[in-house]
Subunit: 219 residues, 2 copies
């Protein structure tokens, strides 16, 4: 049983509170299965939401700077962000339109993202990000050089203020609607990988590595 | 050829501008293939990013209120939002770690979301949302009643200030790296539907409808 946190007024799930979770096990499982997040930040009152990949090292989330450039251009001491990760698991077809839903698992993390200055932490974060998306790939790649590391910004967001929301299972209809004559159930959805596509300029003898074949995010 | 818009300073794509698109055809194709968006809004400087589904009617995007409740509680004349839709198409494995990337198509829409008051527009928006996710389902469902319509908030966001970003194709490595001995290429990713799962309380004779079997978002 992992530690569970009291939600703050900002992370308390208001709608469908029975779907909320505030424990690190649930949150880390979702973060570890996903690798695409949506980062929100505000510039002069206008919110921006940018998709980017992320990695996790213990209780820190790391994102790198390419997608965060608009945000990075104006921050020095950190910027208030919301990082949201959503895994979509299915369409939920109820008898009534009103009770249609989706099965999903999502995490919302609020906090201040700060630039990672320490070169050691920076490379550890980039390694974690690579390992998070495709374990084993880092070692098979040409390593980053000084110029590339300088051109890459890494942001750290402590996973401190967070909540998860999870919906699983069949539709839930109002009792009288169970007599309504229509099909009801779940259409499961999953992100799946297809067969890897060789680059046109592969050197002779380069075979698809195991981590690229049969790629899955399922634990 | 659809009309193309000059980006505003807020929607101009700063990073990798060669991936940017500002025409409605591209944006609508992405919006029509997806159905999950991430809505960003700020409360006292703190951004929030919430996943929710959406529908499109011509140049308006509609989301419904369940996911927007935190936002709705404090808005009257509209709230500044950013709606982002991301379709993930693959992992791009380059020779160098630095040039690893993803294939994706994303849309960012900025603007003011306002509550739909007109009952006719509200039900049209809910119908569009339902048709957008699962065409044909609305007609097979028990229709919304007055109480349910009152309990549902619908927001309208005009699609006026927007940009798209698209990456396709193989990895692009620095020229000297093509001699580096590793596999490179693309791992395609796609969201696919599994076999529909019958609800335990189906009435006798209710078969899975065609729209739920072989569900796909591809055009």
């Amino acid at each position: 049983m992992s530690e569970s946190f009291a939600p703050t007024p900002r992370t308390r799930v208001v709608r469908e509170p029975e779907r909320a979770a505030y424990d690190r096990d649930t949150v880390y499982q979702i973060l570890d299965e996903g690798f695409l997040c949506h980062v929100g930040f505000a510039v002069e009152g206008q919110p921006f939401v940018i998709p980017t990949s992320y990695g996790r090292v213990e209780s820190n989330l790391y994102i790198h700077g390419s997608a965060a450039s608009r945000m990075l251009r104006q921050m020095k001491d950190g910027v208030a962000v919301c990082v949201t990760v959503t895994l979509l698991d299915g369409l939920v077809l109820a008898r009534s339109i009103f009770n249609h839903s989706m099965n999903y698992r999502s995490v919302v993390i609020l906090g201040k993202a700060t630039l990672v200055d320490d070169p050691k932490e920076k490379i550890e974060a980039l390694y974690a990000l690579s390992q998070h998306i495709l374990p084993g790939r880092w070692d098979d790649s040409r390593q980053p050089n000084e110029r590339e590391l300088k051109a890459t910004s890494v942001l750290r967001l402590p996973i401190e203020e967070f909540s998860a929301k999870v919906r699983v299972g069949p539709p839930v209809d109002d009792e009288p609607d169970y007599a309504f004559p229509t099909w009801a159930g779940v259409v499961p959805l999953e992100m799946v990988a297809g067969d890897p596509i060789d680059d046109a300029r592969l050197l002779p003898g380069q075979e698809v590595p195991a981590y690229a074949r049969g790629y899955t995010r399922k634990p």
